[in-house]
C-alpha cells in the first residue's frame, strides 16, 4: 500500500507518454512500433494488413521499393561525373598564331663541307659499290683497295652490309668478306616490296661495344631508306660535336630564307621573325612568336590579310643524302607551344604558291574527376625539357630523353639536353647507337612506360589547315617577278633567281570565327539531391527524415534493446549466482521486462494512443473470430457511420 502511489504515478506517466522505440521490450515490438509510426509508405501496411499472404505481399513490395530506390540512386550517383559540352562560335578579332618556317635542308651544304666531306665520300663509295652509282661520269670508279687505304671510320663503326636473306650471311661492303650474322635480326625490309632478289637487301649492323656478340642487324628493302638512315646516324654523331653557335652560323640566316613578307596588308621584315634553332631543321624562323610581348592579330579573314612570304630555297645547296625532298616546312602553333616541326610540320613546294587557310578551335576539357588530363603538367613526374607550356608531345619527348640519359649515358641529338647531360657521339659513347635503337624500339612498343605517365593537356588550341597549291610565278609574270626578287635579294647574287628556288606561302584565317568547345559538368549537387528526393518520393514517399528514422530505429534502438537484454540476462545470472535461488530480485526483473505495451496497465483506462489502440489483442469472446473488428471507438469514427450498413447486417444474419 505504501508503494502504491509511486507505482500509480509511473504507470500514469507511461500511459501519457507515447511508447518510445528503445522502451519496446523486444525487437519485434520495436519493428511494429516503427511500422505503425513511420511516414514511409508500405511499412505500415505490413503490420495492419489482414492475412498472412497480404502481409507477405506488402513485405515484398516494400523491400522491392527500397531496392528500386537504392538502384536508381546508385545510377544517379554513377552518372554524376558526366560532362556536357558547349560549343560557342564567336566572331571576333583573332590573335594570329605563331608561324614557324624552316628550310627542309638544315644547313648549307657548301658550309658543311669541312665536317661532312669524309662521310659523304664514304656514302658515295657505298652507293658506287652497291648500285654502281657514280656522280659525274668523268670520275673513275675506285677500286676496293682504295677503300681500305682510306681507313674509313664510318664503316668500322657501323658496317653497311648486303644481306642474303634467310641464310643469315652478309657481305661486308668494305672487306668483301662474307660473315655470319649473330644476334637478332631486325628486318627493316618488307617482304611485300622485296623484289625477290635477296642479294639486294642492304642494311647495317649495330653491336654492343661491351659485348660484341650482342648485335642487331637492321635491313631495309629499299636502299633509299637504308642509306638515308645510315647517313643520318653518322650525321647526328658529327653534329653533336659542333657547338650551337657554329651551327647557327652554318644554317640559313633570315635574309637568306625570307625574300619578301607581308602581313595584314602591310610590309614586314625579319624583325618580325624570331630565330629558333631546331636540331634537325637548322635555323627556323617564327613569325609572331610573341617574344617582345605583343601578339599580332588580324582584323579580317581572307588571304589578303594574312601572312604572305616568299621564301628562298637554295636547292643547289642541299645535302643530297640527308634530305631528299625540296621545299620548306611550316607549322602553325600557339605562341606558348613548342613547334614539333619534324613531327607534324606541313611541307610546302617550290615554284608554287601554297595558300593555307586556318580555322581556329579552342578546346577545354574538365580535369579530374571528369577525365584524366592535366592542367599545367605540374603533376606529371616528367621534367619538361622544353621551356614551353605542357603538351603530350613535350612530355613524351622529355620522357624518352630522360630514359636515354639514364640507360645510354648521353642525350639524343634531336631533343633538348637535360641538365648535366651531353649529346651522344661515338667518340665518347661508342655504344650509344645500339643503345638508342634498342631504346627506341622499346619506346615504340610502349615498354618504357612513357605513354602511361604522360597525360593529355586539358586545354589546347588547334588551327585546322586547308591547303591549296597553284603554280607560281605564272609564265607571263615569271620574267619580271624573278628580276625584281633578285634585285630585292641583293647585289651579291648577280644572276637571276631560278623559280624552282622560290616558294610563296600564304597563311590566313578563312574566317574570324573562333570555335570554343568547353566541357561543363552536367550535374551539380543541387540537381543530384533533387533527383534523390524525386526517387525517394516516387517509390516510398520517403525523405531525409525517414532515412534518419531508419538509422535511429534499426541501428541505435535495436542495438540498445539487444544490449539491454544482454545486460539484464547478465544481471539475472549474476544475481542468481549470488543469491542461489533467492527469488527476491526475480520479480523486479520481470517488471522491467513488462514495460511498455506488455504492461497491462497501459491498456484500459485512459484514452489510448493511436498505436496502443491498434495493437490491442482481440477480445477472446468476439462472436466473429474470423474478422476481428478493430477498436474503432478510439478514433471516434462511429459518427461517420451511424447506421449499420445493410451488407454487414446481411453478413450477420447469415
Amino acid at each position: 500500500a505504501a508503494t502504491a502511489p509511486g507505482k500509480k504515478i509511473t504507470a500514469r506517466l507511461k500511459r501519457t507518454l507515447p511508447v518510445r522505440g528503445p522502451q519496446a521490450p523486444t525487437l519485434s515490438e520495436l519493428m511494429r512500433w516503427y511500422c505503425l509510426n513511420t511516414n514511409t509508405h508500405g511499412c505500415r501496411r505490413i503490420v495492419v494488413s489482414r492475412g498472412r499472404l497480404r502481409r507477405l505481399l506488402w513485405i515484398v513490395l516494400t523491400l522491392s521499393a527500397v531496392g528500386l530506390i537504392l538502384w536508381q540512386c546508385a545510377e544517379l550517383l554513377m552518372n554524376y561525373y558526366s560532362a556536357s559540352v558547349s560549343v560557342t562560335v564567336q566572331f571576333q578579332k583573332l590573335p594570329f598564331p605563331a608561324v614557324t618556317i624552316c628550310n627542309i635542308n638544315p644547313y648549307k651544304y657548301s658550309a658543311m663541307k669541312e665536317y661532312l666531306s669524309e662521310l659523304d665520300k664514304e656514302t658515295k663509295k657505298a652507293l658506287e659499290t652497291f648500285y654502281g652509282f657514280s656522280e659525274g661520269k668523268s670520275k673513275v670508279r675506285r677500286s676496293v683497295d682504295d677503300w681500305n687505304s682510306t681507313g674509313s671510320d664510318f664503316f668500322q663503326q657501323i658496317p653497311l652490309l648486303k644481306v642474303e636473306d634467310f641464310s643469315r650471311t652478309a657481305t661486308d661492303l668494305r672487306s668483301g668478306q662474307k660473315r655470319k650474322i649473330e644476334g637478332s635480326v631486325f628486318h627493316k625490309d618488307s617482304s611485300i616490296v622485296n623484289s625477290g632478289d635477296s642479294n639486294d637487301i642492304v642494311g647495317f649492323q649495330l653491336c654492343d661495344a661491351n659485348n660484341s656478340s650482342e648485335c642487331a642487324l637492321y635491313t631495309f628493302s629499299s636502299g633509299v631508306n637504308a642509306i638515308q638512315e645510315w647517313y643520318r646516324l653518322h650525321y647526328m654523331n658529327i653534329m653533336a660535336q659542333i657547338p650551337l653557335e657554329t651551327k647557327e652560323k652554318l644554317s640559313y640566316s633570315a635574309e637568306d630564307l625570307l625574300l619578301t613578307c607581308f602581313f595584314d596588308g602591310l610590309s614586314c621584315d625579319k624583325r618580325h621573325f624570331t630565330r629558333f634553332h631546331h636540331p634537325l631543321h637548322g635555323n627556323c624562323y617564327t613569325f609572331n612568336s610573341g617574344e617582345n610581348g605583343t601578339i599580332l592579330s588580324t582584323s579580317t579573314g581572307g588571304s589578303e590579310y594574312g601572312l604572305q612570304v616568299v621564301l628562298y630555297i637554295d636547292e643547289a645547296d642541299y645535302n643530297p643524302f640527308l634530305v631528299t625532298s625540296t621545299g620548306a616546312k611550316i607549322m602553325v602553333h600557339d605562341q606558348n607551344e613548342y613547334p614539333f616541326i619534324e613531327d607534324i610540320g606541313t611541307e610546302i613546294e617550290t615554284a608554287a604558291v601554297t595558300s593555307i587557310g586556318m580555322h581556329f578551335t579552342q578546346s577545354r576539357k574538365l580535369s579530374k574527376p571528369y577525365s584524366d588530363c592535366t592542367e599545367t603538367g605540374a603533376d606529371i613526374p616528367v621534367e619538361n625539357l622544353y621551356n614551353k607550356s605542357y603538351s603530350l608531345q613535350i612530355c613524351l619527348h622529355s620522357c624518352f630523353q630522360k630514359a636515354m640519359v639514364d640507360s645510354c649515358g648521353c642525350a639524343q641529338y634531336a631533343q633538348p639536353l637535360p641538365a648535366g647531360a651531353e649529346y651522344c657521339n661515338y667518340k665518347k659513347n661508342p655504344n650509344w647507337m645500339y643503345c638508342y635503337y634498342r631504346l627506341h624500339e622499346k619506346f615504340v612498343k610502349e615498354q618504357l612506360g612513357c605513354q602511361q605517365i604522360c597525360k593529355d593537356a586539358c586545354s589546347f588550341k588547334e588551327w585546322a589547315l586547308t591547303t591549296s597549291i597553284a603554280q607560281w610565278p605564272s609564265i607571263v609574270s615569271e620574267d619580271w617577278m624573278l628580276r625584281v626578287l633578285s634585285w630585292d635579294k641583293g647585289q651579291k647574287l648577280n644572276k637571276k633567281l631560278n623559280k624552282t628556288d622560290l616558294a610563296n606561302l600564304m597563311v590566313f584565317y578563312k574566317d574570324l570565327n573562333e570555335r570554343f568547345i568547353s566541357e561543363n559538368p552536367t550535374n551539380t549537387l543541387v540537381i543530384l539531391l533533387s533527383n534523390f528526393g524525386g526517387q525517394l518520393g516516387l517509390w516510398m514517399s520517403c525523405s531525409v527524415v525517414c532515412v534518419i528514422e531508419i538509422v535511429e530505429v534499426f541501428f541505435i534502438d535495436s542495438l540498445s534493446i539487444v544490449m539491454r537484454r544482454q545486460w539484464q540476462r547478465a544481471k539475472k545470472w549474476w544475481n542468481g549466482r549470488r543469491a542461489r535461488g533467492g527469488s527476491g530480485k526475480a520479480p523486479q526483473a520481470g517488471d522491467v521486462e513488462r514495460q511498455g505495451h506488455d504492461n497491462p496497465v497501459c491498456i484500459d483506462e485512459d484514452l489510448p494512443t493511436f498505436t496502443t489502440a491498434l495493437r490491442l489483442p482481440l477480445p477472446q469472446d468476439s462472436p466473429l473470430p474470423r474478422t476481428p473488428p478493430p477498436n474503432y471507438s478510439t478514433l471516434r469514427l462511429e459518427t461517420a457511420f451511424t447506421e449499420q450498413l445493410p451488407d454487414t447486417l446481411e453478413l450477420d444474419r447469415h
Partner: protein, 571 residues
C-alpha cells in the same frame, strides 16, 4: 490468422482504408465526418492536385516519348588503330579477252574525235595504239622481251596470253558486237554563245518510243565509259586477271619506322582505277596500332606513278589515288579519295572524328546493317554508300533486268550490256536521275550507321626527289626495286600518312531525358502535388481488388440466399 482475410463489410473496408492509407488528403476527405463543407473542400483540393499532377505527368511523358537527344562532344586520346589506306595506280588493266573489241572501240573513238574535233585530235591516240600493237607483234614473233623498258607491261601481257587459252573457252567474243547505235553528236548550245557546244549520245528504250540525249560539255569520256562498261560486262563478275604484284606499285613501305609485312595488304582490281591495294584493311593486327602522332610514326610509301596508259581514254589522270577509310569498309574510290602527283612527296595529316548515334527510339540508324531492308551486296561492314549501291543495283535488276557493271551482282543476275539488253542505257540513266532526285526510295531504306569514323585530312607537298639527291635515289630504286625508267621523268612519288594528333573528337548523341531522370522527375511531382508514392497506388489497387472481391462475395451470397428458400431449383 488466415492467408488472406477479407473485410466483413464495405464499411469496414473503407474505414480500414481511410485509417491506414498513406495518401494525403484522402484520409481527411473520408474521415472528416459529416462536415460537408470540409468534405467538399478536400474533394476539390484532391481533384485539383490530381489534375496538376497528371498535367505535369503528361508534359513529362510527352517530352520523354519524343525521345529528344542532346549532342555531346568528347575528346578521346587513347591509342587507336591506324585507318585502312587504299592506293590505286589509276591504270586499269587491259584484259586480253576483250582487247580486240577494245581496239575496235578505240578506233571508233578516233573516228568520233576526228568527226568532232578534226583530224589532229586523234593523232596521238593513233600513235599510241600503233605502238601498242607493234609491241604486241614484236613479242609474238620474237618472244623476246625488252626487259629494261617495259618489263612489267610485257610480262603481264605474256601471262595473260598464256592463260588466254583457258579463258577463251567460256567466253565467246562473237556474242558481243560493239554497237554503232550510240554515236556522238555535237549540239550547239544557243544559250551559251557561239563557241560553246555540247557533245552527247542518244539513248532509247526498247521500243524506241522514248529517247533522250546524254549531254556532256566536253570530250567523249562519258561515251567511252559507256561503251567500256558494256565491253567489260562481258567478263562477268571477277574476271580472270593475271596476278598483280605490289612491287609494281609500291617500292617501299614503312609503318612506325618498321617495314610493312606481307600479310598487311589486300589487292583488288577496279575497272576504272586499276590495281588497288588496301593496307590494314581488317584493322586487327596490333602492328598497325597508332601510339604516337607525327610523321616518323606514320605510314610512308614510295610509289611508282608511271603513266603506262593501258587504256588512254579511260585513265586521263596521272598519279596515284589514295583513300583513307575505316576498317572493313569497301573503299568507294569514285566518291572519295585524293590524288598524289608524281615527283612530289605528299605528307597527309589525318585526324579522326567519330560520330555515335543512339539509334533505337532516338533516331534511325543501324549498327551492323542486319536490320536494313536492303540486301547488302558488299561483304564488308555496313556503310551508307554500300547500302545505296546495293539498293540501286536491286532497283536496276527489277526495272532493267540486268545489273550495273560497277556494282556487285546478287546471285543469279547478269551485268548489263547492249548486245543483250539494247535499252539498258536508257533505263539506267533514268533510274540514276531518279536516285539523284531522291525519287527512288533508297535514301529511306538506307539509314546511317550508328558509329562512323570520319578522317579529316590536310596535306603538305614538297618536290621529291630533290635535284641534288635524285640521281642516287633513282639509281638505288632502279637497282633494287625494279624501277625501270632511265629518264629523269617525274614518275615516282612519296606519300606519308600520319596522325596529326591522336585526340579524336567524338560527337555522341545522348538522351536528354533518361528513364532514371524521368522517374526522379515524376517522383518529385508526385511528392509535390500529391504526397503519395508508388506504394500508395498499390494500396489503391488493393482497395479496388478488395472491393471487387467483396462485391462478388456479397452477390454470390445474395444469390444463394435468394434462390435457397425462394424459387425451387430447376432440379
Amino acid at each position: 490468422e488466415g492467408l488472406i482475410e477479407f473485410y466483413g463489410s464495405f464499411r469496414e473496408m473503407f474505414e480500414f482504408f481511410c485509417k491506414h492509407t498513406t495518401i494525403h488528403g484522402t484520409i481527411r476527405l473520408v474521415c472528416s465526418g459529416s462536415n460537408r463543407l470540409k468534405t467538399a473542400f478536400w474533394t476539390l483540393l484532391l481533384l485539383a492536385s490530381l489534375a496538376m499532377l497528371y498535367w505535369q505527368f503528361a508534359l513529362m511523358l510527352s517530352q520523354f516519348w519524343a525521345y529528344p537527344v542532346v549532342l555531346t562532344m568528347s575528346m578521346h586520346s587513347e591509342p587507336k588503330m591506324f585507318p585502312a589506306v587504299t592506293i590505286c595506280n589509276l591504270d586499269p588493266y587491259r584484259f586480253e579477252l576483250v582487247s580486240e573489241q577494245l581496239e575496235q572501240l578505240e578506233r571508233m573513238a578516233e573516228e568520233s574525235l576526228t568527226f568532232l574535233y578534226g583530224p589532229k585530235a586523234s593523232a596521238r591516240l593513233f600513235h599510241l595504239r600503233d605502238k601498242d600493237t607493234a609491241r604486241d607483234r614484236d613479242m609474238d614473233t620474237a618472244g623476246d622481251m625488252d626487259k629494261d623498258t617495259n618489263m612489267d607491261t610485257d610480262t603481264d601481257r605474256a601471262r595473260t596470253r598464256a592463260s588466254r587459252g583457258q579463258g577463251q573457252a567460256n567466253f565467246s567474243s562473237a556474242a558481243f558486237r560493239l554497237s554503232q547505235n550510240f554515236s556522238l553528236v555535237r549540239m550547239w548550245d544557243p544559250r551559251a554563245g557561239k563557241n560553246q557546244s555540247r557533245v552527247g549520245f542518244r539513248l532509247c528504250n526498247s521500243t524506241g518510243g522514248s529517247c533522250f540525249y546524254s549531254w556532256h560539255s566536253s570530250g567523249l569520256g562519258a561515251w567511252f565509259r559507256f561503251h567500256y562498261t558494256n565491253l567489260m560486262a562481258q567478263l562477268g563478275p571477277g574476271p580472270a586477271r593475271p596476278p598483280q604484284h605490289i612491287q609494281d606499285l609500291v617500292y617501299s613501305c614503312q609503318y612506325h619506322g618498321q617495314p610493312c609485312r606481307p600479310s598487311d595488304y589486300v589487292h583488288f582490281h577496279h575497272p576504272v582505277f586499276g590495281s588497288c591495294y588496301t593496307f590494314n584493311s581488317k584493322g586487327t593486327d596490333p602492328f598497325w596500332t597508332a601510339t604516337k602522332p607525327g610523321i616518323p610514326y606514320g605510314l610512308s610509301l614510295i610509289l611508282r606513278a608511271e603513266q603506262r596508259e593501258h587504256i588512254p581514254l579511260l585513265a586521263t589522270v596521272a598519279g596515284v589515288k589514295v583513300m583513307i577509310h575505316s576498317h572493313n569498309q569497301t573503299p568507294f574510290l569514285e566518291h572519295e579519295g585524293f590524288h598524289i602527283r608524281p615527283g612530289i612527296a605528299t605528307t597527309i595529316a589525318i585526324r579522326q572524328d567519330q560520330v555515335n548515334r543512339l539509334g533505337g527510339n532516338y533516331g534511325k540508324c543501324t549498327t551492323d546493317g542486319a536490320d536494313v531492308a536492303v540486301e547488302l551486296l558488299y561483304n564488308n561492314s555496313y556503310t551508307l554508300q554500300a547500302c545505296l549501291h546495293s539498293c540501286f543495283q536491286h532497283a536496276m535488276l527489277r526495272r532493267c533486268g540486268c545489273g550495273y557493271f560497277y556494282y556487285p551482282l546478287p546471285a543469279g543476275a547478269r551485268y548489263c550490256d547492249y548486245s543483250r539488253q539494247p535499252a539498258w542505257g536508257h533505263c539506267f540513266y533514268q533510274l540514276y536521275s531518279q536516285l539523284r532526285n531522291h525519287r527512288l526510295d533508297c535514301f529511306q531504306h538506307c539509314p546511317k550507321p550508328c558509329r562512323e569514323s570520319l578522317y579529316k585530312v590536310s596535306a603538305g607537298t614538297a618536290k621529291w626527289p630533290s635535284a641534288k639527291s635524285q640521281d642516287w635515289v633513282r639509281q638505288a630504286l632502279r637497282h633494287q626495286n625494279g624501277y625501270s625508267s632511265s629518264s629523269s621523268r617525274r614518275d615516282i612519288a612519296k606519300v606519308t600518312i600520319f596522325y596529326r594528333q591522336l585526340n579524336s573528337q567524338a560527337v555522341h548523341e545522348a538522351p536528354l531525358l533518361s528513364e532514371n531522370l524521368l522517374l526522379s522527375g515524376m517522383g518529385s511531382q508526385w511528392s509535390l502535388w500529391f504526397g503519395s508514392s508508388v506504394l500508395s497506388v498499390v494500396e489503391m489497387l488493393e482497395l479496388l481488388l478488395d472491393a471487387l472481391v467483396l462485391a462478388l462475395l456479397f452477390c454470390f451470397q445474395r444469390l444463394r440466399a435468394g434462390s435457397g428458400p425462394g424459387t425451387p431449383p430447376s432440379a
